[in-house]
Symmetry: none
Subunit: 150 residues, 2 copies
DNA sequence: GCATCTTTGACCTTCCTTGACCTTACAACC
DNA sequence: GGTTGTAAGGTCAAGGAAGGTCAAAGATGC
């Protein structure tokens, strides 16, 4: 299967580059004789933030895709949180989670405040109250993922 | 890519000049073998006010372009950002702002990622697209405030 | 046989590069 | 003091070079 082959290839290149890699989508697709979007597919299905990768890209002339592998260590802990959040979460519970993370030294005090602000009722004031906890859960999940990544 | 090269060049010249620089567009374009408007493009895409630069220019004989890297106090800087956000902001612009803050050492790389995640389209996926930028602005503002506080 | 994962291709968005044309400043000349 | 010539920089639109997205068709596994 092409996907596996490409994934293995990227994995190897990551090893060679000490966990960092920049590639050109078109160039690579050309070399492998596949369509460019295949590369996109592999990256989006295999090198996800959940699995500890950070992806950045730039379009236009000289564009490229950057893949960075982050060491998993405290990430399992984070993953636990991520799953625990569920579909919906209120402000108080969010803060409780954050305090837990801070208490365990997984995030700094400042990070706690930033995350609390981003998920506060103040930030979500314009969202109908009955939808607020759902949106908060989504934002919080993205935050947890970002904390795992770096 | 030419753009990156020129940007790097200007950056260096700014460092040499303690954050100030005067250049002649035609002369520089000539030296680099590119069209003059390329210089304009680099300046307008890379050395923007959002990223903390002030641009002045003079036309006519002996004309020049003046680039100054602003340094403001932390809170001035933050306040500047807070005001600049306005009612609505898209994902890309948000990231540009955050990168500026990180570039100036006002927030850490991790904080950048957290804030970017909290304001990402992914986090706001369940919000109708036409309202997303408004909600993002509100979340971002709360984040900026939290950054000023600690 | 249904669900899930792959593969492909058409179309979109972003970014870079170039060139034609516009505006402004200054200076020389009447 | 106007007029005009020339030397800057400003603007904008077109074209090209990437990567992004998404839906449909094809495999594959249970």
């Amino acid at each position: 299967m092409l996907t596996d082959y490409i994934a293995k290839m990227i994995e190897e290149m990551l090893n060679e580059g000490n966990g960092t890699l920049e590639l050109q989508r078109n160039e690579m697709a050309n070399r492998l004789g596949c369509v460019p979007s295949q590369i996109s597919y592999v990256i989006s299905s295999r090198f996800t933030p959940e699995r500890g990768y950070v992806i950045e890209s730039r379009r236009g002339g000289g564009g490229c895709i950057r893949i960075v592998r982050k060491q998993m260590s405290r990430n399992e802990y984070m993953m636990h949180f991520f799953c625990a959040i569920g579909e919906s979460i209120d402000e108080g519970e969010t803060i409780a989670y954050l305090k837990n993370l801070a208490g365990n030294g997984l995030i700094s005090e400042r990070e706690l405040h930033i995350a609390a602000a981003a998920t506060s009722n103040a930030a979500l004031a314009s969202i109908p109250p009955d939808r607020r906890n759902t949106v908060r859960a989504q934002i919080f999940k993205q935050i947890i993922l970002s904390m795992m990544a770096v």
